[in-house]
């Protein structure tokens, strides 16, 4: 063995030794490791020490000193590990394996978020991307660009919280339609989730702020058939196989306007008090984008057509999870929120 080989072997023995020491899980194992390293007979370090006399005279002193300090270091490490193992090891060797495991806190997304993500997932599959917009919005984007008539009862459904002259808290996510159409050329396929505000007082099913999710598709050749087909596809993904029904409705920014129902989730369409005997449950409002809205956003309304829809994830969360009062969605009671941990 050359001196160089000796030094390398010594280094290797030290490094390996340290690793084995920290890997030892019980005092018994540690004793084995001790014998394997510095045991008088077979310890790897002890064997190396026996090689010392075979080294060149000039190197022996240096080699001896190094070997010795490695041994001292190993012994220290053994001692430290022994102390910590003694502390770690439970006194009784038999475990009652029926005892509960160690938990950590479980986090959860808000139920409204769960619904939004589910909806987003379905629409992402058919080429929609997410777009966001401000909650403090200009009146023009919220009403004017969306073809709302002034001094008209249509405004009664949008009792508005104003922040200033021509600035308000958006009453729906539809302003994102206009902002998007002004920012990107057709084809457009977007989904816009967000909070919206109405000057509504709290009751079991109304709140002054709630979430909404909006969808918009604009391109050449987009039609009412696409609206029906896409939204029915969506309903069947979200609720499982279900019939859908489209009813005439009115939104200033769509024409024709239609509300979509699915079979009542409570009675599977047979009719119950929840659906007032109709067997249907309203899910969303939709319609073909009004040409005036396209024109507001500088889109050629003769060439391009589009459809849009909006729905309330809060109401759907209440339905899906059996939440009886909308207030629970806002209270942020940890006992409520923890129920949505997965």
């Amino acid at each position: 063995m050359t001196t160089q080989e000796f030094f390398e072997a010594l280094q290797r023995a030290h490094v390996e030794g340290s690793a084995r020491i920290s890997a030892a899980a019980t005092p018994l194992e540690l004793t084995d490791v001790r014998n394997a390293l510095i045991g008088r007979k077979n310890g790897s370090l002890s064997q190396l020490m026996r090689e010392l006399p075979s080294l060149p005279e000039a190197d022996r002193r240096e080699a001896g000193a190094r070997a010795n300090s490695a041994r001292v270091a190993i012994e220290e490490e053994l001692e430290t590990r022994k102390v910590s193992l003694d502390a770690d090891t439970p006194p009784q060797p038999t475990l009652d394996l029926s005892m509960p495991g160690r938990q950590s806190w479980r986090g959860a997304k808000h139920p409204v978020t769960l619904i939004i993500e589910e909806i987003e997932g379905i629409f992402r599959d058919i080429g929609f991307t997410i777009a966001l917009g401000p909650e403090a919005e200009l009146e023009w984007y919220n009403f004017g660009a969306l073809n709302f008539p002034a001094d008209h009862p249509a405004m009664d459904m949008h009792d508005t919280l104003y922040l200033g002259k021509e600035v308000l808290l958006r009453t729906h996510t539809s302003p994102v339609q206009v902002r998007t159409l002004q920012s990107y050329p057709p084809p457009i396929r977007i989904l816009a989730p967000g909070n919206v505000y109405r000057r509504d007082f709290f009751d079991a099913s109304h709140a002054p702020m709630f979430s909404q999710i909006e969808g918009l598709a604009v391109d050449e050749g987009v039609s009412f058939v696409d609206l029906k087909a896409t939204l029915s596809y969506f309903a069947n993904r979200l609720f499982g196989k279900t019939k859908t029904r489209f009813r005439p409705s009115y939104f200033p920014f769509t024409e024709p306007s239609a509300e979509m129902d699915v079979e009542c989730q409570l009675c599977s369409g047979r009719g119950c008090s929840g659906c007032k005997g109709t067997g249907w449950m309203e899910i969303l409002g939709s319609g073909m984008v009004h040409p005036a809205v396209l024109q507001s956003a500088g889109v050629d309304a003769e060439r391009y057509t589009g459809w849009a829809f909006g729905m309330g994830p809060g109401r759907m969360a209440m339905l899906r999870y059996g939440i009886p009062n909308i207030r629970l969605l806002y209270d942020s009671d940890v006992r409520f929120l923890e129920q949505f941990a997965r």
Binding site: S69, L132, Y162, L169, T180, S183, M209, S211, P256, A341
Partner: protein, 814 residues
């Protein structure tokens, strides 16, 4: 809008059941929210089928029958009616049912025979006076079928959700028109029972003033009242209404008042034309003047409230003062009372926007204002007035005084629109033949004239359809009348959109996942806070004065949520929120920013039987949470946590800009609550600046070759050589930051230092006052060879020398 099944049937005879008619109205016209059986007192009566009937053993006028009532077994029923016959159906009230009038039936023995209910006569069901025998039913309905639905007994009320663009549906006439179109059954105006008078005198037409008999009628505000008709009827006898009229009103939930008022109400519900009757004796100067109110003019309305009017409001006045608010409510002074002899009947068209402003200003909504502000049919008053006169003469007597007046200064022509067959197909996605288009739109009163040479129509819009203005409105009519369900649901190919996924949304989702993984619960509270005048955005018309401002930071609303949890005795609270905050900014637009925040208090982890109770969350948990949020918000960016002041523990900088903080949070908390900590980071500004001017666009260039983000993960080659390590413990003065020592360590240790971990901080008796001992663990590795222990020990010595030399920090000795 309430509508009655029977009333609609008087317009259009259909054989539909109430449920079928409800579904038809919903599918083609407007959603029926509710359907109310007006004979709910018959709800427990079912169809009973008499299987056997035999003489009662102990009585010569009673029968013992066996009745099938759909329960699956035959019931013994004792019956006293001579006409009971086996093989026939009768209304059956089972034991336990309550009869109209409140009698609750019980199982009982009649002369020794058990009776499980009762076969009923017409009188017992409140269906007439006939009690000669039980009511024999001419039906094949299955035994057990509810009596009312099987026999169509009792009217049904539909509660219809009429959208604000369809005032024409606020009447039985309007709904019937749609039913007629959808069922392809003819429609006619219902006969008025007991009405024999037919109104013959044509109205006299003028622009501004005329006499209706003895009353002078003057229209001064034609903007507020584009059309004003009136007629005087003398010698009416005010009294109660006939039963049929009361029943009609009750069927839509209206209350009977007196025959004249009921007649006008009847026409409101029948035709959608509000009317008002004034007592002529109370009209000063026998004049009716339609004018603007003067400033501070006062009027006591029919509901007994004194109203203060203003010149924006249109009133109906006599020579002296206002006697009614146009289109909203009449005045109490000229109200029709039992003493009224002569009436002036007003049938007018008021301006929708003007009625709406007045109604809002007064906070006074009525059946009349509801219809006027949505828009009534300007062509309707002449027919409605004629019908009203007939009805009033029939139910209250009297005679018409002179010809009615019709002040209609600017008669309106019907609007027109062009409809292209090709545009119908483009929008609806299915070609619809021109003939079908024509049939559909004419079925509800549009008139079509086909263009020569091209496939388009000139369409005349009926006066009651103010909502239809342009081609697209007609296309909606076509889709609706054809039935939305007639269109295919074929998923057709689509082009992918040009809008890139929102980068902000991507960040927010990443943050949310990270915090949920950390065991936090997502809150979505409202942004309203008590705030203060300065520094907060105020809601101009807040819902509650004590929460009139918008939050500046999420920790504000999260704190309120934490307090709510404490009030529910919850001591372990871990909430986070992703949401907007608002600052007044310096321009007209508030400055809105998307923030992320987390608030923690209570146990660091759930209790486990192997361990002592968990320690509470402390500032170090909060700091780690801040780091977690920062990493998720700006991965790969340089971030720094600078010690803060007061409750602010650290301010967070990302790429040199201040973006958030970690801090102690003060709560209104009970004594047992732990200290709360919070972290909040700003993600991005949300601008409400216009994208482009109205009617224009400014397209963003979509970056095609974005360079990979700096945070993109790159694989590092795994080490092939062993590492070496040692610990050092040094005495650091209290006023020196550990960060400073670490910097010096890194500098001195050189590039082979792989990892530096702070192991412990110790203060105690063995340590000099004003000092603490901090220990670090250092790991070194050479990428190509094994480090020799000599190299390690020399590094250690050099390091200790550097620390002492540069910082005066010495190794801790035992």
């Amino acid at each position: 809008m309430n509508a009655s099944h029977d009333w609609l049937n008087a317009f259009v005879q259909t054989s539909m059941t109430p449920a079928a008619l409800r579904d038809l109205i919903t599918a083609r016209c407007a959603t029926v929210d509710d359907m109310v059986s007006l004979r709910a007192d018959l709800s427990e009566i079912v169809i009973g089928y008499v299987v056997e009937a035999s003489r009662h053993p102990n009585s010569d006028h009673l029968w013992v029958t066996r009745v099938d009532a759909g329960t699956g077994e035959l019931l013994d029923v004792v019956c006293g009616a001579a006409n009971v016959t086996a093989g026939k159906r009768y209304p059956f009230a089972p034991a336990g049912a309550t009869l109209p009038g409140g009698l609750k039936l019980e199982k009982r023995k009649i002369r020794g025979s058990l009776s499980n209910g009762m076969l009923c006569s017409a009188r017992e069901l409140g269906l007439g006076d006939d009690h000669e025998g039980i009511l024999e039913l001419n039906t094949e309905a299955a035994p057990g079928t509810p009596f009312t639905s099987a026999m169509g007994v009792g009217d049904t009320r539909y509660v219809i959700d009429v959208q604000p663009n369809r005032p024409d549906l606020l009447s039985h006439l309007g709904i019937a028109r749609e039913i007629s179109a959808a069922s392809q059954q003819p429609m006619r105006w219902p006969d008025l029972p007991d009405v024999s008078h037919s109104f013959a005198t044509a109205p006299s037409v003028a622009a501004s003033a005329l006499r209706a008999g003895s009353v002078e009628v003057r229209l001064e505000d034609a903007a507020g009242a584009p059309r004003y008709m009136g007629v005087v009827i003398r010698g009416v006898s005010i009294g109660s209404s006939p039963a049929w009229l009361t029943a009609r009103l009750e069927s839509v939930g209206a209350r009977s008042i007196n025959n004249v008022v009921d007649a006008t109400n009847y026409l409101l519900h029948e035709l959608g034309q509000p009317m008002h009757a004034f007592d002529v004796a109370k009209l000063e100067g026998s004049a009716v003047i339609v004018r603007r109110a003067s400033a501070d003019e006062r009027l006591r309305t029919l509901d007994g409230v004194d109203r203060i009017l203003n010149p924006q409001m249109t009133v109906i006045a006599d020579a002296e003062r206002a006697q009614g608010i146009a289109g909203v409510m009449g005045g109490s002074e000229s109200e029709v009372t039992d003493a009224t002899k002569d009436i002036f009947l007003e049938v007018a068209t008021f301006d929708p926007a003007s009625v709406r402003r007045t109604r809002r200003a007064l906070g006074l909504s009525t059946d009349a204002s509801y219809r006027f502000e949505r828009g009534t049919d300007i062509e309707l008053p002449s027919a409605a007035l004629a019908r009203a006169v007939s009805l009033i003469l029939a139910v209250a007597g009297g005679e018409v005084d002179g010809a009615p007046v019709d002040l209609y200064p600017a008669p309106r022509a019907r609007a027109k629109a062009v409809l292209r067959v090709s545009r119908v197909a483009q929008l609806l996605g299915e070609p619809i033949p021109a003939a079908e288009i024509e049939r559909l739109v004419t079925s509800v009163g549009f008139k079509c004239a086909k263009h020569e040479g091209d496939s388009s129509f000139d369409v005349e819009i009926p006066s009651w359809r103010g909502d239809v203005r342009a081609e697209v409105d007609l296309i909606e009519e076509i889709a609706r009348l054809r039935g939305f369900d007639s269109f295919s649901e074929e998923l057709r190919p689509f082009r992918s959109g040009s809008v890139p996924a929102s980068p902000l949304d991507t960040v927010l989702k990443r943050v949310r996942e990270a915090l949920v993984m950390k065991g936090l619960l997502e809150a979505r509270p409202m942004p309203f806070v008590s705030g203060a005048e300065r520094g907060f955005v105020r809601v101009a018309n807040p819902i509650a004065e004590n929460e009139a401002y918008l939050r500046r930071e999420l920790l504000d609303t999260l704190s309120r949520r934490a307090e709510h949890n404490l009030s529910q005795m919850q001591r372990n609270i871990r909430l986070f929120e992703i949401g907007s905050v608002f600052d007044p900014g310096d321009a007209d637009l508030p400055r809105e920013e998307m923030h992320v925040a987390a608030l923690i208090l209570g146990d660091r982890r759930p209790a486990h039987w192997t361990e002592p109770p968990s320690p509470a969350f402390d500032e170090w948990d909060a700091k780690a949470l801040g780091e977690e949020i920062t990493r998720a918000v700006a991965p790969g960016s340089r971030s720094a946590f600078r010690p803060g002041e007061g409750d602010v523990l650290w301010t967070i900088e990302i790429d040199g800009a201040r973006r958030g903080e970690v801090r102690k949070v003060s709560l209104d908390a009970p004594l047992w609550a732990a200290q709360a900590f919070g972290a909040e980071v700003s993600v991005e500004r949300l601008t409400a600046e216009p994208v482009a001017a109205a009617g224009t666009a400014r397209y963003k260039s979509v970056a095609v070759s974005q360079s990979p983000a700096s945070h993109e993960i790159r694989y590092q080659v795994l080490p092939t050589t062993p590492s070496s390590s040692f610990d050092i413990a040094v005495l650091v003065p209290n006023d020196m930051r550990a960060e400073q020592v670490e910097e010096a360590i890194r500098r001195s240790a050189g590039t082979l230092l792989e990892k530096l971990t702070l192991l412990s901080e110790y203060r105690g008796d063995s340590i000099t006052q004003g000092m603490r001992s901090i220990a670090w663990h250092l790991v070194f590795r050479h990428p190509e060879r094994t480090l020799e222990s000599r190299e390690i020990s020399s590094r250690r010595e050099r390091l200790l020398r550097t620390l002492e030399g540069e910082l005066g920090v010495r190794q801790r000795t035992a």
